[in-house]
């Protein structure tokens, strides 16, 4: 139900029944490799194109999460999914395979939490017993569409980010055991005039901050309520800016609580410049790493703020700045 200006509180506390994450070869060497359900050593996944490989990752994550929930795909009422491809083909094509009634979403890299917020809302309102939410990205297909060919030798600046190859899926249920979805804050589109597509962290940081502030205001909370507040894919540069912007508003979140999925995912020797990015970044870290830590009891209250840059290669070439959005979802693990 509506809480404050732009948030929902889920009185029936829908359950995150099961999750699954799939990744590529680079992710198999990442800091959170152990949290993946499926890892591939071939960036193509044996497919004839990067786009097909991405779709396969998404299908695998969806099918595995349904299986882990002990369900059949016929048990799921609705499927909410998004990705970065033109006309969100990865999601729609995966929906064709799954055959579950489908909502296609585009919130760029914020799609993970946009999907979870909507799935939880529908389940909370009794609109579904089970809903599936997922999103995916693929380093090859994203580079091809937004940047340069993968093998092109351009030197990336230190602000650039590495698109995660992977997919994350979660089954949201009205009943069951698992972390609960407590509430969500839907973000506004914020554009503070950053135009450099190789500095997405700086472009997205204000959107993340705007949503975090709105979340605290709407729920009348402060940062100490959460064990972990993670932004989606701001990277090192964007994370530092977001912390600064919050400090200017008098909100100081300790370093051990405020983190970023794009900073967490890869390890030191992996050359990813500012950090990870892509729809899969927040999805695999949340549905893999954080989900497992919640089940282990290490985290009780978590706020995920997935950030998305709503640009297209066309808008960038036409010298438009980069509008960004962030959606926050609050999760809580109460123990078994």
């Amino acid at each position: 139900m509506l809480q404050g200006q732009q948030s929902w509180i889920f009185a029936n506390r829908p359950v995150l029944l099961a999750t699954a994450v799939a990744g590529g070869p680079f992710e198999a060497r990442s800091a959170i490799a152990a949290d993946f359900d499926i890892l591939h050593d071939d960036i193509w996944l044996g497919q004839s194109s990067f786009e097909k490989a991405e779709k396969k990752l998404l299908e695998e994550a969806c099918q595995t999460s349904i299986q882990k929930a002990g369900l059949q795909k016929e048990d799921i009422q609705f499927f909410f999914s998004g990705d970065l491809m033109n006309q969100i083909i990865s999601s729609s094509f995966a929906a064709r395979t799954l055959g579950i009634p489908y909502f296609g979403l585009f919130g760029a890299c914020s799609s993970s939490m946009e999907g979870l917020a909507l799935a939880a809302f529908v389940v909370n309102a009794g609109g579904a017993r089970y809903a599936l939410t997922a999103c995916s990205s693929h380093n090859g297909s994203v580079n091809k569409q937004y940047r340069y060919p993968t093998e092109y030798g351009a030197q990336l600046p230190p602000t650039a980010q590495w698109t995660v190859t992977g997919a994350g899926a979660a089954v949201v249920a009205a009943q069951g055991v698992g972390p609960r979805v407590i509430g969500a804050t839907i973000g506004r589109v914020i554009d503070l005039g950053v135009t450099d597509p190789f500095n997405m962290g700086a472009a997205m940081a204000p959107a993340a901050v705007d949503t975090i502030i709105a979340h605290f205001r709407d729920f009348n909370l402060d940062a100490s309520h959460y064990d972990l507040i993670a932004t989606g894919d701001l990277g090192k540069v964007g994370h530092a800016i977001a912390a600064d912007l919050l400090r200017r508003q008098g909100i100081v979140i300790p370093e051990n609580i405020f983190t970023d999925c794009g900073v967490l995912i890869y390890q030191g020797q992996q050359q990813v410049m500012s950090g990870g990015s892509g729809c899969a970044c927040s999805a695999v870290v949340t549905y893999g790493h954080f989900f497992n830590r919640m089940l282990k009891g290490e985290l009780k209250r978590v706020l995920i703020v997935a950030t998305g840059a709503l640009l297209s290669p066309l808008s960038y070439q036409q010298n438009e700045s980069i509008p960004c959005v962030a959606h926050a979802v609050a999760l809580e693990w109460e123990g078994v």
Binding site: P149, E151, G153, A154, Q155, N199, A202, D210, R217, L245
Partner: protein, 155 residues
């Protein structure tokens, strides 16, 4: 709706600049110098090789030399090595002819999945295209100027 007191665009861009790690300009220049130099030395070796062991002069040897460098660059691109070299070398690998070969090869590989005509054929020159377009145009302008100057009897 409240604006949550975010900074204005101007203020924010100033702030973002402060957090933007600078490109290591000096380091990049030194690396580019050595990487570019090594590539040119390899080219020089090929020229010497073709002049010494085959029937080429200093002028005609440039054709097989360039072809050899392009083939090496294409192979390195295909094996997924060139982009890693380029991240280290920067302009050192972009400026020589090997960089040009890399732009065409990488685009051709990338778009193979859309078929040979619309994919490879249509996208091969996606990055190299502007270089060719403006290169040809610049050559045209220079040629016109030269003809005019000659006809006017300046030289």
């Amino acid at each position: 709706m409240q604006n949550n007191n975010l900074p204005t665009q101007e203020e924010y861009q100033q702030l973002a600049k402060e957090y933007e790690p600078k490109r290591p300009l000096l380091k990049n220049c030194i690396r580019a110098f050595f990487a570019g130099g090594i590539i040119c030395t390899i080219g020089q070796f090929f020229q010497w090789f073709y002049m010494t062991y085959f029937d080429f002069t200093e002028v005609t040897a440039s054709n097989p030399t360039v072809a050899s460098m392009i083939i090496i660059s294409m192979l390195l691109t295909g094996f997924g090595v060139y982009d890693h070299l380029a991240q280290w070398a920067g302009a050192g690998t972009i400026v020589p002819v090997t960089g040009f070969a890399n732009t065409i090869t990488s685009a051709a590989i990338e778009h193979r999945s859309e078929g040979y005509v619309l994919g490879v054929g249509g996208n091969m020159f996606k990055i190299a295209g502007p270089v060719i377009t403006f290169g040809v145009f610049a050559a045209f302008v220079v040629a016109i100027v030269r003809i005019l100057v000659e006809k006017l009897g300046v030289i």
